[in-house]
């Protein structure tokens, strides 16, 4: 597996922008200015980054309610996303969707999704379109451990298999569906085991490790592009924040997140690996840190100052004209 300097820098930048974006949302949500709910992706950055770095403009992704990381990794604009979360007119969805419905079709981001398990059927459609139109594109659907138990997901696995769709199912198993442990809700410990029942390869990978995710993702995407059909990849990971902002997280051990942040943080471990192998330098990474903080700061300021949609805007973007 070869990643050149520019790719390593891109990986770090992507993970960092997701992390800082989420950390900022965590702070801003507490002020009460952000409408609705937010579900933060902090801790899971390696998964979105590792997969999306293997995709190009032909490829589509679908997401979950915890979709900020997928959006950013697929190339959605930071300013547009921040404004959307604030419900402002300059948002990617004109302020009408909010956190759980951010989408940018031009970037292949078919939307964060407030319906648990809502993404996989959409990804099957996108994959079918790619196959029929012979674009060479693939569809990646991100699903949580809760969504992995939904009928829509299981049906989609079956459909993708029988139609041999170029679709990759990524189960981001962070251990909790809201507050319910996957040890209770899952009949199997490893969701990757379900792949066998759907006649497709299933792989389990450490979702904290960018390089592990990237390597598995590259093989799954290659297989899909070459007509090999779908793959199920289970990424075991932890989220740093609650199911939603405001979640008391009484279902977690008191030091659970602290231990994971200290020992398994994807950004810390990535930085350590690339600098100890003399592939990148600390000053380079710190430069990226500064740039990203500046972009996030700017996006938050602009989002707060931006106008909200007006009453007239309620009647637009409702129907599609063919």
């Amino acid at each position: 597996m070869k990643l050149d300097r520019s790719e390593l820098l891109r990986a770090y930048r992507t993970m960092k922008v997701v992390r800082e974006f989420e950390e900022r949302i965590h702070v801003e949500f507490a002020t009460g200015e952000i409408p609705g709910f937010v579900h933060l992706y902090a801790g899971e950055e390696a998964i979105a980054t590792g997969f999306c770095m293997n995709l190009d403009q032909r490829d589509k992704i679908t997401s979950t309610h915890r979709g900020h990381g997928h959006c950013l990794a697929k190339g959605c604009d930071v300013h547009g996303m921040m404004a959307e979360i604030y419900g402002k007119k300059s948002g990617l969805c004109a302020g009408k969707g909010g956190s759980m419905h951010i989408a940018d079709l031009a970037k292949g981001m078919l939307g964060a999704n407030g319906i648990v398990g809502g993404g996989p059927p959409l990804a099957c459609g996108a994959a079918l379109a790619a196959k029929k139109l012979r674009t060479g594109g693939v569809a990646v659907t991100f699903v949580g451990d809760g969504g992995a138990n939904q009928g829509t997901t299981l049906e989609s696995l079956n459909l993708a298999s029988i139609w041999k769709l170029p679709c990759i199912f990524v189960i981001e198993n962070n251990g909790y569906a809201e507050a319910t442990s996957c040890k209770y809700s899952g009949a199997c410990h490893d969701f990757a085991d379900r792949a066998n029942g759907f006649n497709m390869p299933g792989v389990t990978v450490d979702g904290h490790d960018f390089f592990a995710v990237y390597e598995v993702a590259s093989e799954a995407v290659r297989r899909a592009r070459e007509g090999g059909g779908p793959t199920l990849v289970e990424c075991k990971v932890s989220r740093y924040y609650g199911h939603f902002e405001g979640d008391a997280q009484s279902y977690r051990a008191p030091d659970e997140v602290k231990r994971i942040r200290e020992a398994r943080d994807c950004l810390t471990n990535f930085a350590q690996k690339v600098t100890s192998a003399a592939l990148l330098t600390r000053p380079e990474l710190e430069q990226i840190d500064e740039e990203i903080l500046a972009v996030i700061e700017d996006s938050a300021g602009k989002a707060k100052a931006a106008p909200k949609p007006s009453a007239v805007d309620l009647l637009t973007d409702v129907y599609v004209s063919y």
Binding site: M1, D190, N196, T204, V205, F211, Y214, V216, A277
Partner: protein, 346 residues
């Protein structure tokens, strides 16, 4: 009639819940070993161990679903017919390789007579490091299955039980294995039971190796022509048995400049062309330096260590590795001694 338990006899069972679920399922056609099947194997082992008179079987706990299923089987009475008492070790579980090591160490400390280890080469090498002189019976459930056997668990359980209860002696039924030791400056040592590969990959990534172009050298403890995995590269060049007093080193080269090109089954269902530059003997105790200045080291098919020039990596063959139970020998000895005959059971 069942044989009553023989007082004081204890066997351990360690099953890796994570084996058989890595990227080789995607890039090759690696077997899928479900948790359910591993549990079935353990129940069959328990049945066989009980029938040979093993009083107690210690089972390593896990968070992968094996312990949970077995506990459920206990609750609904599935295990009540077995005459060996199945007990889960009271040790912490971290959901990683340390669990295997910790379980083996605890079993050895508690004086088990044998340990059955379910897993691939990677799991077996962890067991080899921790088992000391306690014989292990290596059963295959992983991807790379060169060291462990693909064997029916019932028969394996009989063999393990016969050795554990002393009715088949260790001299008759165990084999001493070779191992490879990777040593780094500063004292760090890592073990492999089959092969050590030196790779140009800068990181561990998904750990499994399936791209021969990234491999610079392979060191093997033994080389068999019917092996699967990276050691097959050596096995298809020159046979070295498990008991011979040497190993083998193979230096690889790009296909364009290689002295020979070999097509080897480097993963289940995956044959790849491999460029070979040189083959040489690995003598026991000799420290051989690696060619690459930096890269990663794969132990039994999985990238485990990253290294740089400062680490001064060497590889050494050790003839005094773990004892393993030879099922064929154990069963043949039992038949010779008439142990399966009679009203009392095995």
């Amino acid at each position: 009639m069942k044989r009553p338990p023989i007082r004081g006899t204890t066997v351990g069972i360690v099953a890796n819940p994570a084996s058989g679920r890595d990227v080789r399922r995607l890039v090759a056609h690696g077997s899928v070993f479900s948790i359910a099947e591993k549990c079935n194997m353990i129940v069959r082992l328990l049945a066989a161990l009980g029938s040979t008179g093993v009083e107690r079987t210690l089972i390593a706990p896990d968070r992968g679903g094996i312990a949970e299923r077995l506990r459920r089987a206990t609750d609904v009475g599935t295990l009540s017919e077995l005459s060996t008492q199945a007990v889960f070790l009271d040790i912490p579980v971290e959901d990683g390789p340390i669990d295997t090591v910790r379980a083996i160490e605890r079993m050895v400390a508690l004086g088990v007579s044998a340990i059955v280890v379910l897993g691939g080469d990677g799991t077996q090498r962890l067991a080899a490091r921790a088992c000391g002189e306690t014989p292990i019976l290596a059963l295959s459930t992983g991807s790379n299955n060169v060291f462990p056997e693909v064997r029916e668990a019932t028969v394996a359980g009989l063999a393990a039980g016969l050795v554990a209860t002393g009715r088949v002696t260790a001299a008759d039924a165990t084999v001493r294995n070779k191992t490879l030791w990777v040593e780094l400056k500063g004292g760090r040592q890592e073990i492999a039971v089959v092969d050590v590969s030196i790779c140009s990959d800068a990181w561990l990534g998904a750990r499994a190796l399936w791209r021969p172009e990234s491999i610079s050298q392979i060191f093997v403890a033994f080389a068999e022509a019917d092996a699967i995995g990276l050691s097959s590269i050596a096995g298809l060049l020159h046979h070295v048995s498990r008991t011979e007093a040497c190993g083998l080193r193979v230096d690889l080269a790009p296909l364009e400049t290689a002295r020979a090109i070999l097509h080897a089954p480097i993963a289940p269902g995956l044959l790849a062309p491999v460029g070979v530059e040189a083959v040489s003997e690995l003598r026991p105790g000799e420290h051989q330096a690696v060619r690459l200045a930096q890269g990663t080291i794969a132990l039994d098919g999985e990238r485990e260590l990253a290294f740089t020039a400062g680490d001064q990596v060497t590889v050494r063959l050790d003839r005094h590795g773990p004892l393993t139970i030879d099922v064929d020998k154990a069963m043949a000895t039992a038949v010779r001694d008439g142990l399966f005959l009679g009203r009392e059971g095995v």
